[in-house]
């Protein structure tokens, strides 16, 4: 009976009732409800979305990050995409953290799938997931000392001597 009424407006209502003033930025691009919250609240909100019988977001579709160099103290955004398989609704949840001390609590205790997803996010962006059982690099070589997906780093390997830049239109 609740599943008949589960739509974006209902979810937004439940969230603002439970966490007033802390969930902000509600938007619905292409039908997907998205909102954001302070970084320290991430586990509480995910736990609420998981356990609440009216919401039941018990499937973690994806966990990734985005780097916004312009936003002061909120350069790194961690994005959680959750899915309620029973009622077939998705939701997108973002938390922002500063690049100086990017600490986010880990979601591995709620979702086992978050383990490698957080390792990949750490490998690419350098976000420190507090409480993660094994936060080491997963895709890049272990000796790499920078976080390559941040916007300031280039795509190509800078150590090459055999490329003729003039032929490729670079000066």
């Amino acid at each position: 009976m609740l599943s008949m009424g589960l739509n974006n407006a209902y979810i937004q209502q439940r969230l603002t009732d439970k966490f007033p003033d802390q969930v902000t930025g509600f938007e619905e691009p292409f039908g997907l409800l998205g909102f954001s919250a302070p970084a320290v609240m991430n586990l509480k909100i995910i736990q609420f979305l998981y356990e609440d019988e009216g919401l039941k977001f018990r499937f973690l579709t994806d966990l990734t990050a985005v780097h916004y160099p312009g936003k002061q103290d909120a350069e790194l955004a961690v994005v959680y995409l959750l899915h309620n398989l029973v009622d077939n609704i998705r939701i997108r949840f973002k938390v922002y953290t500063g690049i100086g001390k990017p600490d986010i609590f880990t979601a591995t205790k709620i979702f086992a799938a978050a383990n490698w997803m957080e390792r990949e996010t750490y490998d690419f962006f350098g976000i420190n997931f507090v409480g993660h059982p094994n936060l080491v690099r997963i895709l890049n070589v272990d000796e790499m000392d920078y976080f390559p997906m941040r916007k300031q780093y280039p795509l190509e390997d800078q150590g090459r001597t055999d490329k003729d830049d003039e032929m490729f239109g670079r000066s």
Partner: protein
């Protein structure tokens, strides 16, 4: 069971014109044939190469198609592909080699016994391909010496066969003294081997 295989829209052809390989030049008589040793060894080696398919990515699926019955690699003498470098002659590097995989490839190459040949299949193995990124080795010849490069993304199985036939040419015509020669030792020293 055989009916639908015969029903492929083209008549079944039985090959009555079997091509016989060329005999090396030599002097023959009643019950003997004299030729130089490297011609006989070349002929034997080229028709029984045991490849080690070091398949990493998409080109590996074209290699699987090559091993299938349509473009059969076994008719060139490579029925048995091995995965132990100690037993193989030809290292086929098929697919992208990332910087993380480089040391592994080098270890496998060092474990092979002489004479050994290397064929680099695909654009990624030859030069990094479309992935000009921080994590991809821009060509496998940065770490091991390569004999034949097969371009393509992925190369058709016929292209890989063409590269394989060029390796066969190299195997046939190689001098028996090459692996101990100064020039070969310099080549390996350029890669930091031996």
């Amino acid at each position: 069971m055989t009916n639908y295989f015969l029903d492929m829209g083209r008549p079944v052809q039985f090959n009555t014109k079997v091509k016989v390989g060329n005999m090396p030049e030599g002097y023959s008589g009643e019950g003997f044939f004299a030729t130089s040793l490297n011609k006989v060894i070349g002929l034997a080696r080229k028709n029984s190469i045991w490849p080690l398919p070091f398949a990493t990515s998409c080109c590996g699926i074209e290699f699987m198609a090559l091993m299938g019955s349509h473009y059969d690699l076994a008719r060139f003498g490579s029925e048995r592909v091995g995965f132990s470098p100690r037993q193989c002659d030809l290292l086929m590097v098929i697919g992208t080699i990332a910087k993380k995989m480089g040391p592994v490839l080098r270890e496998v190459y060092l474990q092979m016994a002489e004479p050994r040949w290397v064929i680099s299949v695909g654009a990624c193995a030859s030069s990094g391909g479309i992935f000009d990124t921080y994590s991809v080795l821009q060509g496998v010849d940065q770490i091991i010496p390569v004999d034949v490069y097969v371009p393509g993304c992925p190369p058709r199985p016929e292209a890989i066969l063409d590269g394989f036939m060029k390796i066969q040419d190299l195997v046939e015509k190689e001098s028996l003294r090459r692996r101990g020669s100064e020039r070969y030792k310099e080549l390996l020293a350029g890669y930091g081997i031996g």
